[in-house]
Amino acid sequence: MTDEVDPMIEIRASFFVECEELLESLQDGLQLMDDGQSDDETINVVFRAIHSIKGGAGAFGLEELVRFAHQFESVLDGVRSHTILVDRTDIAIFFQASDILADLVRAARDDEPADQEKVQSILDKLSVILGDNAQEEDEVDASDFQPMGIALDLGLPELSDNESVDTDTQHEPAITTDAISAPGNEKPEHFLEGFKIFFQPDSSLYETGNEPLHLLKLLREIGEVDVSCDTSNLKSLSELEEEKSYLAWTIYLATDEDEASVRDIFDFVADLCKLDISPISNSTLPPSNKTDDAPLSSELSIVPTASETVVPPAPPQISQNTADLPVRKSTVPTLPKTNTDNNKPSNKPRPTVRVDLERIDRLVNLVGELVINQAMISQSVTDADLPSNSAISAGLDEFMQLTRDIQDSVMMIRAQPVKSLFQRMSRIIRESSAMVGKSVCLKTDGENTEVDKTVIERLADPLTHMIRNAVDHGIEKEEDRLNADKPAEGIVTLMASHRSGRVIIEVSDDGAGINRERVLQIAMDKGLVAENSQLSDTEIDNLLFLPGFSTASEVSDLSGRGVGMDVVKSSIIALGGRVTIQSEPGQGTKFTISLPLTLAVLDGMVIEVAKQILVVPLNAIAETLTLTQESVLPLGPNNRVIKVRDVFVPLLDLGSELGFRAPLNNFDNAVVLLISQENGTQAALVVDAIQDQRQVVIKGLQNTFGRPSGVAAATILGDGKIALILDPIDIVSSAESAGNLAQNNLQLTG
């Protein structure tokens, strides 16, 4: 039917996206249930999520998924109808089941096998909960789950056929020309083999929107029909009631189809009519011709030829025909049954459109160009030295504001709530706490905080690692917690918020806090710090971020995966973020991740060094200072430090570090940028001048340049020139490793 790319593939892809959303509501619902809010609507939400996954999965023939979802759904159905009462243990199993459901969804999506053992074990647990409720309704009607054919060739007559019915009557004479005739008992002469059908609608048939005419048409499609209509019960027009049934039909159908196919046509009305279908062969009845002698009242030209609107009236008294046949009581639609949530306004999701990410990225890029262009125009206007109250200056101010608004709005498109990320973490908690035999729960806050989609994706691994660490190393064993007067259940908290243009994510636990003595000992044993080093608490805490550091005395299954906190730190730095650590003995540990709102634009300080224009990300700069020669103190032959508020800070000449010039000797009036490192220590970078502070669009350096040390990316400035965006922390740490820098800030005492 179509030569285009199979749209089913697209729908399939969108099904899996929808599944993720459904899994999210499932998690939310289960969490509410776990918190003791098992009201009907909550359970309904959970039920519907599973139900919808099952429905879609069935359509794509994802049998494993259907099987599991069905079992899960049956349990929830029981919960919904209060035949199954659940406690928190059961809800814990539901959480596991939702994890498995998520696994199965992803396995189906990626066409990979799922972990059968896990699936079966949860299926078994669900069966136990289901218990006696697993009755016949649990037997899935196999036909319900026949995969939907992907091919959409409907193999049906074009729809226009419906519309042309009335003009086609010469081929199908029976319905239209003889619809009203005497009670027909005569089989047409050409009749070979087929069925005799007696069909007398109840009034309720019309009330449900059914229409006998359509059924007659369908009969005509499977064979040749001869229809006669019993109008004997018909009343005069004035007495007619629109929706009462007055007619009955006798139909001879010559067809090769079997009785089931014929009955199938009457599927929707079988309970709303008197229906008698009997097979006949050629010998059963004598041939006869159509009769035209039906008593016809002249007003009654309401032959049901028009397809849609006419409701054939029929007499209410059908006694003579029904004597030997049980008439079903008409099922008047007396039950205006509405769902309980019918009247309850709920927060309906706002309408959304799905857009290819590529398009958004293109838009982001274009807006980036716009920002650059706007900066260039501003530059030209400034250069033209126009009076500040000129129309062009005023227009430009507005243009700048609009550009920034557009940019913010475009970035918002890419933003997503961190909720999905946090939900994934709740699974990590469940699994990791089970693995180490601790009881730990996850608390989340600020899950609607929005972050760039890419940031969210790339945060998953570092967060997973931090959560595992928190469970494994942070939270104490149960007996230790009880001894310390803490609740047996440990708490890991994930918190997200926006703070001064950045996204803050905190991972904290209420565990024992960092055992600094032990951390220091391990660092010394591993040669990461010199023996007998005197380090501050913060410095000791930051040792955790050193490559090759691992505190786990025995490498557990959980955190011993060859990934240390150093990797966590470097992935966060790669996102333009920072991570800091705070720990309180006996109270717990808190990691704070600070991230830029977007990866496409940054606030930068435009500086000049050895006649080169460079950009330093503003978030790396703690403050700027102007030096005097006296404030610079030598430390060994090559190193210098400056004193900033009683702390000695190593001094670096950016120009020489980048290889632009020989090291400076005179620092009088030199401008320095104070760079905060992740470990809390600082370094001072000497620059020649600070030009400006502005937003710049990040342009990645192509791979042909490699990744020059100290350079993060490039940007285009207002005058069209290209400037490198520096990674000052990288510059400082490579200077450190080259020995050009006093290793640690020294605290002045006294």
């Binding site: 729908i11 069935g58 309704e137 729809l159 929706e243 639609p333």
Partner: protein, 121 residues
């Protein structure tokens, strides 16, 4: 003009499929994501038939059918119920609410169109 069909289902996947199937079969589909939304759309539509899911947030299929039947101009509009369970009691409930017929999910396109033919001709 092709026949308008209003399809109500909270699952986007099912809506997508209904949309595809109905468009390919030459119908003019209108999609709603729950009963309330469906009723809103109905104000501006004269569909040849309505297809609705049962389990939906805000207003479920039973409530929706009941509400549609109370609207004079849609009193006789055929309504097909989408159901994953072919369980008789569900059909019964749908019928009591005033449904015309049913389609068992996952629907085959052919069956869907067939069911529509049974109620729209």
């Amino acid at each position: 003009m092709s026949l308008q069909i209003l399809a109500v289902d909270d699952s986007r996947t099912i809506r997508d499929m209904l949309n595809l199937t109905l468009s390919q079969a030459g119908f003019n589909p209108h999609l709603a994501d729950d009963g309330i939304h469906g009723l809103e759309l109905l104000e501006g539509l004269t569909p040849g038939a309505i297809i609705t899911d049962i389990n939906m947030p805000r207003m479920d299929g039973f409530g929706f059918i009941d509400a549609v039947r109370k609207i004079e101009k849609h009193r006789a509009t055929p309504i097909l119920v989408l159901t994953t369970e072919s369980a008789p009691e569900l059909k019964k409930r749908a019928r009591d609410a005033g449904a015309t017929g049913w389609i068992v999910k996952p629907f085959e396109p052919k069956k869907l169109v067939r069911a529509l033919q049974m109620v729209t001709g």
